[in-house]
Structure formats: C-alpha cells, structure tokens
C-alpha cells in the first residue's frame, strides 16, 4: 500500500500540473483571473453581425462584476446590473467584443418622456494617465456606446406615431412655407439642425464612437470617424451586444487595437427600465484586454512548458530525495 504522505504529495503534484495546463489553455482557475479578457483569434468569419452565433458560444466568457457609480452625481449606489459577461475575438482585420447580461425587459423606447433605453459601453484607455471615471485631461478615453434605441432605429427611425398611434397628426408647417424655409413638414427640428447625433434622421450604427476626458466632456466623434459597428439581440431575458471595429485605424482618438498588444478597458451597462442613463449606470473596474500576436499553438507556450518541465523534474527529484531520508518532524515512521 502506498504511504499516506506519498499519496498526498502525488495529489498535490497532480493539482499543480492540472492548474498549469488549465492556465496554459486559457481557462481561468481563480476569480482573480477575470480581470483579464483574452481576445480569441477567430477560426472563420468574425461573427460581428450575430451575437448568438455558435462561434461566440464556443468562447468561455469572463464574468465581470459591476458596481454602482458613486463618484459623480447623478449617482447609483447599487448596480442595477451586477454582472456582465465579456468575450472578444479578432480576425486579421477586425476586433469584436461581445457583452452579455441578464435583463428582464427590452427597453428601446425613448419617445416616451418617462422611458429610457438599455445601453452598454466599452471604454478604452488612451494612454496611461487616464481615469476609469470618464477619463481626465492627462489621459482620455475612447468609448463605444451601444444604445437599444439606436439599434431599434436602424431598420426605421422610431417616431411619435409608433409610440403613440392615437396622437393627433398636426400639420406643423404648410408645405409651401416649409419649402420656402428649407424645412420639411415636421417644421424646425432643433437638435437635428444643431447636428446632435441623438436627433439624427439616419445613423451609421447602433454604437456611438465617443471620446471623454473628464466628467461632462463626453464628445461624439465626427460622423466620418464613427467606425464602430454594432449588432444586438435579446433572447430569453439576456441581451447580447457585439461591438466591432477595424484593427488599427490610425485615429488618435480611437482605441489602438494592435495584434500582440494589451489595452486597459472597462464596461458599463444601463437598465432602461430602472431609469438608468448617464451616471446612473453599473460599471466595472479596469480589465486588461490582451490581443494575441498571431494564432497560438501549443508550441507557442514553449517557455511556459519548459519552465513547467523544470519544475516537475525538480519536484520529482525532491520526492526521490525525500523518500530516501529518515522521517523527521511531523512525518510518520517509515513502514
């Protein structure tokens, strides 16, 4: 019969080897490893348009704990969305991140004054001097902001008729007067005339590409530099949102997404049904987003494997030495 302490030693060794192997294959073993989001290289087409694609399901998500936003008013002390699950993929050209969270309702109506839309965002640090709270002057943020109302608008922009079908259809401006003033029959649409993207008739994406360098500085990038695509779908109480962009695009206000690099990111989710908007949001701490240099094979891990072999050899040697020594201390007598 194998002695008890030997059995324990062998079990310990087995656990070390198992942990090493799991880590080598990118499977998180402890919760602390959830602070790294490792980007997976896509085998086929990057599923940027299909949040529920099997390619996404094949990736193990990183569970990211969210907290309230208690720094600047309006504050939210307890998160309305406690967790978001994140996955990320690249192919040769694009980077895509998938956020998934539980939400009992779809909220995409912002026509009604008392309703707010579900939203999600990813922020990327631009430089090292930034702050997780909307950035600061020493270091800005690039923010990708998906909005359920913008997503719902993509097929056809929602207007009062859809939300309030019985609302009176006034003639706002007689056609001759409207034409003379360069206006449509809807009259003056002030926000649209001011170039506000919220008021735009057509938007290129459900995701807004923004820059921020402190509270109240959130600024939408010009239309020609809005280059983040979005796709979203709600299924069985779960929102899934994919946001994607070309890898390096040479825009200094955009996240530098280069193969073989790492960048610091954070996530935020808003639950429209709970009145979330602006600072009333559930936010994460910083995570490290690691983009692999090229397709990884087992041999790519050679330094790690070599180290593991050395450790194993050392362990075996120590076990061998130990078995030849008389027992001391707390060890039992040799049988």
């Amino acid at each position: 019969m194998i002695p008890r302490e030997r059995r324990l030693r062998a079990l310990g060794l087995l656990l070390v080897i198992l942990t090493a192997l799991l880590t080598a294959f990118g499977v998180p073993v402890t919760s602390a490893q959830g602070t790294t989001l490792r980007v997976v290289r896509s085998e086929g087409t990057l599923p940027t348009d299909d949040p529920w694609s099997s390619a996404w399901n094949a990736i193990r998500p990183v569970d990211v704990t969210l907290s309230g936003q208690a720094v600047a008013p309006p504050r939210l002390l307890l998160p309305n969305v406690p967790t978001v699950r994140a996955r990320a993929m690249i192919d040769g050209e694009r980077f895509a991140v998938l956020l998934e969270w539980t939400d009992t309702t779809i909220d995409e109506d912002v026509i009604d004054v008392s309703r707010f839309a579900d939203q999600a965002a990813v922020q990327f640090a631009l430089g090292s001097g930034t702050s997780v709270c909307m950035g600061q002057q020493a270091g800005a943020l690039n923010i990708w902001h998906w909005k359920a109302d913008w997503a719902a608008d993509l097929a056809a922009r929602k207007d009062i008729e859809q939300r309030f079908p019985n609302a009176p259809q006034d003639e706002h401006l007689p056609p001759d007067l409207a034409e003379g003033a360069g206006l449509g029959p809807d009259g003056f649409l002030t926000g649209r005339a001011a170039g506000n993207p919220r008021s735009a008739l057509v938007r290129p994406s459900s995701v807004e590409d923004l820059v921020a360098a402190g509270f109240g500085t959130l600024t939408s990038e010009p239309l020609e530099r809005q280059d983040v695509a979005g796709a979203s779908a709600y299924r069985d109480g779960i929102w899934r949102v994919v946001m994607s962009r070309r890898l390096d695009n040479a825009d200094p206000n955009d996240a530098p997404l280069a193969v073989g690099s790492a960048i610091v990111v954070a996530f935020a989710v808003w639950d429209g049904a709970k009145g979330d908007r602006n600072g009333t949001k559930s936010v994460s701490a910083w995570l490290s987003l690691v983009i692999p240099g090229r397709e990884m094979s087992l041999l790519d891990h050679w330094p790690f494997l070599a180290m593991m072999l050395v450790v194993l050899a050392l362990g075996a040697w120590l076990l061998w030495i130990g078995s030849r020594q008389p027992a001391v201390g707390l060890g039992g007598p040799p049988s």
Binding site: P74, V110, D149, D159, T190, R192, N196, R198, G216, R277
Partner: protein
C-alpha cells in the same frame, strides 16, 4: 456644493456651483389681477417657437387655473410634497423669520426650510443635485384639465366633471385665479445644476438660461430637477428644450425694434396688459443694482408689490407676480412667500408712483430701462380701508436702452368722443 446668496430667502444656501452672475438679468412682473386666461401669450409663444413636430405637448408659456390646474398636472403640489417630506425627515419645520426692514437683501425675511438643493444634499446618501420628479406623458398632455371642476381630483369617467348630486348652495366657496407661467430664468437654475452634460448655461449678458441643442444627450435630468417643470423633452429630436426668452428680441435683433431690446412674444401679445418684462442691472455680487427708475426694480424691490413664485424652492426665480386680491391668504403665502400681505396692501391703495408705473404694462414692445413721471392734477378722491386715497392724472414716460423716449402714458385713459355726425357710423 458652494454657498451662494439667495436674496429671496434672505440667507445663503447650498448650490452645486459657486456664484457667477450676469451683467443684467431677464426678469418680468405679471399682474395676476388683470389676467383673463385668454391664452394669447401661450399661442404667441407656440406660433413662434413650438409649432413643430414633437412639440405638441410643449407649452413654454402656459396659463393654468389655480388651485386645481397645473401643467404638467399638479406640478407644484408634487414639488411641495417632496420638500415637505425632506423637511420632516430632517426634523425641520419651515418658517419665514422676520428680519429688520433695513436689510435690503432680505425683503421677505429669512427662510429656514430646505431648498430643493439642500433637500437633495440631505438625502443619505446624496445621489442627485436637486430633489424633483419626472412627470409622465399624460401629465403633459392636457394642460388645462381639471381646472373647471367644482372639486379637485379626477372626475368619474364620462361625467364630464359634473357632480352627480349637483352643487349645493350656499356652500359654494369656490375661488380661483389664473397663473401665467414660463421659465423663470432662475439665478440658481435647478435644470443647470442637474445637467451632468453641462449642456445648460446662463448667458452672461442677460441671464437667460438655455439648453445647448448640440450638447444635450436627452438624459432628462433637467426635466426632473426643474421645480417649475419648464424643461421639456422632445421625442422627435430626443433632447430637451425650454423657453429661450425670445433671445433674438432681447438682443434687439427683431426688425421692428430698431436695434433696441424688445420684450418677448408672450409679453408683447398680452391683451389683458398684465405683463411687463425688463432687464435688471446686477452688481458684481449678483444683487440687484439699486435702480428705482427701472420699472421692474421699482415694483419688486421698492414697492414690493410683485413677489417671486415659490421662493422656497430656492432657485431664485426672476418672474414676479402681483398676487390676486381675492384668493385665500394662506394659499397665496404658500405660493409667493410672506410678502403677500404687504404686496396686496400696496396694490389695493397704490402709491402715486406705482399707479403711474402700472400704466407702462404693454404700452410698448421695447424694453423699458428707465421711467420718469410728470405730475398731473388730482382727478379722484376716495377712502380705501378707512384711509383717504387720491388719484392723480400723472404721465409716465418709458425710455429705451439708449435713453430715448419709447412710450408716454397717462394714468387716466384719454377719452375720445366721436363727433355727432358719426356717432353711430362705423
């Protein structure tokens, strides 16, 4: 939070931003006693600014009937209730403490209740800049509903507000008055305080409060925070809008105004002549410059005949009202503060100067920066509250920004008699 001076409360109060005051402040005086609720002001505003799609429920100017009316529905009752809750949670019994009459910067005494800003700061933990609420769509949709029913509350469906049992005389103790409302372009705007985008600003030249239509992201924090509910969300553009105080007219850019500042559309359209609007010069510390020849300053600070609307909210509104003579005093005190008795006493038996200045209402579209009075003969004598009172046919002259005469009116309206041959001809 910074400490700022609020003269209407007679004390300093907390506000998210430190004091910074414009050179002049847009301000107005409304004489509630004269209003006939014809809504010409509301339509003048609507046909100028809010006739487009998405603005159907938007009345930057509205006239509601108190006590049951309110646009949005029951706005003031709801805000007063929020403040009541905050005060009672904090164990505060709000009251106005008298101050010495010599304290020019505390004309109504000193208010020790919590403002909407202080009530928000007292919440544990504090999460917002001002207490408030967001009215639902139906609360905006019928601006004059429930105003002509004999009892408060929602009438039974199909009853058209008629009582099943009929009214029982002689217990008909109903009273009402019209309240004309627009943005008060507050000295300490709650909309501005609550906007996390800093999309709302107060113009340094005239104190007009505006929402930057390019910056607004439709968070509706201003809609929630404004106690007067004069920030409004527009579903077509998905951003909020508010009264712009007809700023092109204030800037003298209306072709009619000869380059001179001109009163807003809602003011100049008033057939009841209840409205007078002006620009009040401010000292560097934000207090009103002592300019008794400015008709607004004269009525508000010297005669104290016009009072701020709900000063206890703490935003230091710049709209002032001559209260109605016939409504219950406790209701009026709740609405206009403790200056009501004095204001009504002065309105019932106006001084010679006040009677002359009251004639300036709607005498010209140009903003009157200064008035002068030329004395005329005594034309009438009577007793008011047991005291002798005389009326003089004085002439009041209003001057525009450049000191040019803009208008000249006599206290006694001139009478023109048709010559006999044309007595009945039209």
């Amino acid at each position: 939070m910074a400490d700022v001076r609020n003269w209407q409360l007679g004390r300093t109060m907390s506000y998210p931003y430190p004091e910074s005051h414009p050179d002049r402040q847009f301000a107005f005086v409304f004489n509630i006693n004269r209003c006939i609720a014809c809504q010409t002001c509301s339509m003048a505003c609507k046909s100028t600014w809010t006739f487009s799609k998405g603005q159907e429920l938007m009345w930057w100017n509205n006239v509601e009937t108190k006590p049951y009316g309110g646009y949005p529905r029951h706005w003031d009752v709801k805000v007063l209730e929020l403040l009541d809750e905050a005060n009672s949670t904090a164990g505060v019994e709000p009251s106005w403490q008298p101050t010495t009459a010599a304290d020019r910067e505390a004309p109504y005494g000193s208010y020790d209740g919590m403002t909407i800003f202080e009530a928000a700061a007292a919440e544990t933990p504090p999460v917002r800049q001002a207490v408030g609420y967001q009215p639902a769509p139906d609360e905006w949709s019928a601006p004059n509903i429930f105003e002509d029913v004999p009892h408060p509350g929602r009438p039974a469906p199909g009853s058209l507000g008629l009582e099943q049992d009929g009214a029982q005389l002689p217990e008909h103790v109903a009273w009402f008055f019209y309240l004309q409302r627009l943005c008060n372009h507050c000295t300490y705007p709650a909309c501005l305080a609550a906007c996390p985008r800093k999309a709302i600003y107060k113009r340094p030249e005239d104190g007009i409060v505006l929402i930057d239509q390019a910056r607004c992201r439709g968070y509706r924090k201003c809609v929630e925070a404004c106690p007067y509910k004069k920030s409004m969300y527009r579903p077509t553009t998905r951003v909020s809008e508010k009264c712009v105080a007809c700023y092109p007219r204030i800037e003298g850019r209306d072709p009619l105004s000869d380059g001179m500042p001109m009163e807003t559309r809602c003011m100049s359209a008033c057939p009841g002549k209840i409205r007078l609007q002006g620009l009040v010069a401010l000292d560097a510390d934000g207090s009103w410059a002592d300019d008794p020849q400015n008709p607004i300053v004269f009525m508000v600070r010297h005669e104290k005949v016009a009072l701020p609307l709900y000063p206890q909210f703490g935003t230091e509104p710049n709209g002032f009202y001559i209260p109605p003579r016939w409504a219950p005093r406790d209701y009026l005190v709740q609405m206009f503060g403790p200056g009501v008795d004095e204001a009504l006493a002065r309105y019932r038996a106006p001084s010679r100067e006040l009677l002359a200045v009251l004639q300036l209402f709607r005498a010209t579209q140009k903003i009157i920066f200064r008035f002068e009075i030329e004395e005329g003969p005594k034309v009438f004598e009577t007793e008011i509250d047991g005291k002798p009172w005389s009326m003089y046919d004085d002439t009041v002259i209003g001057f525009d920004q450049q000191g040019r005469e803009a208008v000249r009116v006599r206290v006694e309206e001139p009478i023109y008699q048709r010559p006999a041959p044309r007595v009945n001809s039209i």
